[in-house]
């Protein structure tokens, strides 16, 4: 393993451990670390909402801008002061969440292949967020604004397009005009609009986007920021005076860190080199040697009914529908190989993927070449034959996601393990098929809640098993005979314990009163 890959693996392990540590408190669905993008967007909406209020009361003028913002915070616990504090702290929170989101996606290696578009469109948003954040501080026109404005323009003046003249706007108290703040507020509104447009592009290749966190997550975040706004209201510092250099000032290191960094480095050229190099590095990450490509989903026109279920379930919008070439009035699924994550969720969603079909080999509408539905059925039938030799104990079939806890170690005389690309690849009819073909119980091993490698696998499986999403598990299948377990790669003991617990539960069902009638498939060979 080369050095970058080793660093990435360590970072991934760290993030997984952090996420797992938060699970007991939040649960998978509400774990903020697994929904950083949604939390970031929620914080952006808080910034936009509170910013609209501030825009209404802001008076543009050198002294008026300071006065109008200052009056908002007098006293700071009134609505204006709270909105102002919320605006600032939500912006700080956005920067923090954005950084964590970037690091997490990088740690998980989500910058290559079908994800490179989201990565590249996301990198640009960092610049927009910081431009908007830094510009927002200028609008207060206090001493912090003065420091930021002068430091920013000194940095900008190094770029040829500014010709070294922008810092002259802040030379002396009379070099600034009222119009400056009018222009600034348009920039401060325009850049976030670009940010929102960029976010729209950022999620274009993702289906079923979590645009917002759960209600609990949003309320808790809002409550935390409101409490912070009351405990430590955002206040203006003394008014800007270009005739002096401000002394020690309260400083927002989350948004304005670039200024001390520039002061420390000294040379604007080096600062720009650093910034451009960091950006270029992020842009070039997708060019790192990628893992060997895996085969993508393949559509079989003879078995595709054009039902749209794969289109609805694909997490990465890799499927579209077109007119069926051979069956007038029908549609045909089409897979965009560049967008396909090879997760197999489409195969799990296809109504033709039922093992009860007599056809052999089993051909389904959309399938994964590396682990076809037919191969799954062949493996299941082979394992069920083996399980019949078991002399004691309940015979359990474990379907397990290969990105979750390693289930292969559970293999035993009375336990068959069948790995899947993702737990969402499993057509729910396989559960009934296993139970009617000799298994006493079926255990379904998924990643932790909200931690699916392909975003939606465990969610789709849960909805299919409970009948909320087609294709669903038939209601006649007794819920006592199957169980799902959420176990990430570090949750081996949880998986073992879940199996032992499941076995105990199955044992209490004997003599079995809820067994489904046995099923013996009659084979039909199609040419």
């Amino acid at each position: 393993m080369n050095f970058p890959a080793a660093v990435q693996q360590q970072a991934k392990r760290l993030f997984m451990r952090l996420e797992e540590a938060c699970d007991p408190f939040f649960g998978g669905a509400d774990n903020p670390l697994r929904h950083l993008g949604a939390y970031g967007l929620f914080l952006l909406w808080l910034v936009v909402g509170s910013g609209l209020y501030l825009y209404i009361v802001l008076d543009t003028g050198i002294e008026a801008v300071y006065r109008s913002i200052g009056e908002l915070s007098t006293p700071p616990w009134q609505i204006g002061g709270v909105f102002r504090s919320l605006h600032r702290y939500a912006a700080d929170g956005l920067m923090l969440v954005m950084l964590l989101h970037l690091l997490r996606e990088a740690a998980y290696g989500r910058f290559q292949g079908f994800r490179h578009y989201s990565w590249l469109t996301g990198v640009q948003l960092i610049w927009l967020a910081f431009i908007a954040g830094i510009g927002g501080y200028w609008l207060v026109w206090d001493q912090l604004a003065q420091v930021s404005a002068i430091a920013s323009t000194e940095l900008l003046d190094w770029l040829p397009m500014f010709s070294g003249a922008s810092a002259r706007n802040f030379l002396t108290p009379d070099s600034l005009s009222d119009r400056f703040f009018t222009v600034l507020i348009f920039i401060h509104i325009g850049v976030p609009l670009l940010l929102i447009l960029g976010l729209w592009a950022h999620v274009q290749r993702i289906a079923h986007v979590d645009y917002l966190p759960s209600w609990r997550g949003m309320l808790a975040t809002l409550a935390a920021l409101l409490l912070l706004s009351l405990v430590q209201p955002a206040l203006s510092q003394p008014p800007a005076d270009l005739a002096i250099v401000p002394g020690a000032i309260d400083f927002d290191w989350l948004i304005l860190f670039i200024h001390p960094l520039s002061d420390r480095i000294g040379s604007p050229a080096l600062v720009w080199l650093l910034l451009f190099a960091a950006t270029a590095l992020l842009f070039l990450l997708p060019l790192l040697p990628a893992p060997v490509g895996v085969p993508v989903a393949v559509v079989d026109p003879a078995n595709c009914t054009g039902c749209d279920r794969c289109l609805a379930d694909c997490p990465y919008a890799a499927i579209s529908m077109t007119a069926h070439p051979a069956r007038p009035g029908f549609h045909l699924a089409v897979v965009d190989a560049d967008l396909c994550a090879a997760c197999g969720l489409c195969a799990g969603s296809c109504p033709s993927s039922t093992p009860f079909r007599r056809q052999e080999p089993l051909c389904t509408g959309i399938d994964m070449p590396q682990l076809s539905v037919d191969a799954l059925r062949v493996q299941l039938e082979s394992e069920l034959l083996r399980l019949r030799q078991a002399t004691s104990g309940s015979r359990v079939v474990v379907f397990s996601c290969q990105h979750a806890a390693d289930a292969q170690t559970l293999t035993a005389d009375d336990t068959a393990v069948i790995p899947l690309l993702c737990i969402g690849q499993l057509p729910p009819a396989f559960v009934e098929y296993a139970l009617r073909s000799g298994a006493d119980g079926v255990l379904l091993g998924a990643c932790r809640d909200g931690g699916c490698e392909f975003r939606l696998g465990e969610r789709w499986l849960a909805e299919r098993l409970t009948g909320e999403r087609p294709p669903s598990l038939r209601s006649r299948v007794p819920a006592t005979r199957w169980r799902t377990v959420s176990a990430g790669v570090h949750d081996q003991s949880r998986l073992i314990s879940a199996l032992a617990d499941f076995r105990r539960r199955l044992a209490t069902l004997d003599p079995p009163g809820d067994r489904l009638p046995p099923y013996s498939r009659k084979v039909v060979h199609h040419v």
Binding site: F25, F26, G27, D92, L96, D157, L171, F251, W253
Partner: protein, 165 residues
């Protein structure tokens, strides 16, 4: 199902998130320059002079009557030479080049110098037509700088050339 431990954990973690933001949104304090230091800002944006040539009578005769300007002035502007002395020592020296593809834009310089507060002798010399020797603009004065004061060295031909503010 209500879990008190989960609730407490969430309160602690959301609280830590807010506390982290609250701390780094204001702390630690930042100071750009030391207490006993003043700042001299040199900021000049000026069009260099053009290096015009007087046309000979023969050249003028060849031109159409309406175009017989006595001077032939190229589009390009001259480089500008600038020197700053502080307390008799050379503090800064540069040659500013005109901007623009045709070298017809303004020449600009912007520098900050941190100096100890107190009395200083400040002298600035500038030549905006570099083919001529010496300096055609100069300014020298005793300045008393308070701590944190910003003194600007600028140039404005309407204000007599170089000036301190």
């Amino acid at each position: 199902m209500f879990k008190p431990v989960a609730l407490v954990g969430q309160i602690v973690l959301y609280g830590a998130f807010a506390a982290f933001i609250g701390y780094f949104a204001t702390s630690p304090k930042y100071r750009q320059i030391a207490d006993d230091v003043a700042l001299i800002k040199l900021s000049i944006s000026h069009l260099g002079d053009r290096e015009c040539r007087k046309r000979t009578p023969e050249e003028l005769a060849k031109l159409p009557p309406n175009m017989r300007a006595p001077l032939d002035c190229p589009r390009e502007r001259s480089d500008i030479k600038l020197e700053v002395d502080l307390d008799g020592q050379l503090l800064f020296s540069t040659v500013m080049h005109p901007t623009g593809l045709y070298k017809d834009g303004v020449s600009t310089v912007y520098r900050r110098f941190e100096v100890p507060a107190g009395k200083h002798h400040l002298a600035v010399r500038m030549n905006d037509k570099i083919v001529n020797p010496g300096f055609n603009f100069s300014k020298a004065d005793e300045v008393e700088l308070k701590p944190a004061q910003v003194l600007v060295i600028d140039f404005n031909p309407d204000r007599g050339g170089l000036f301190f503010k």
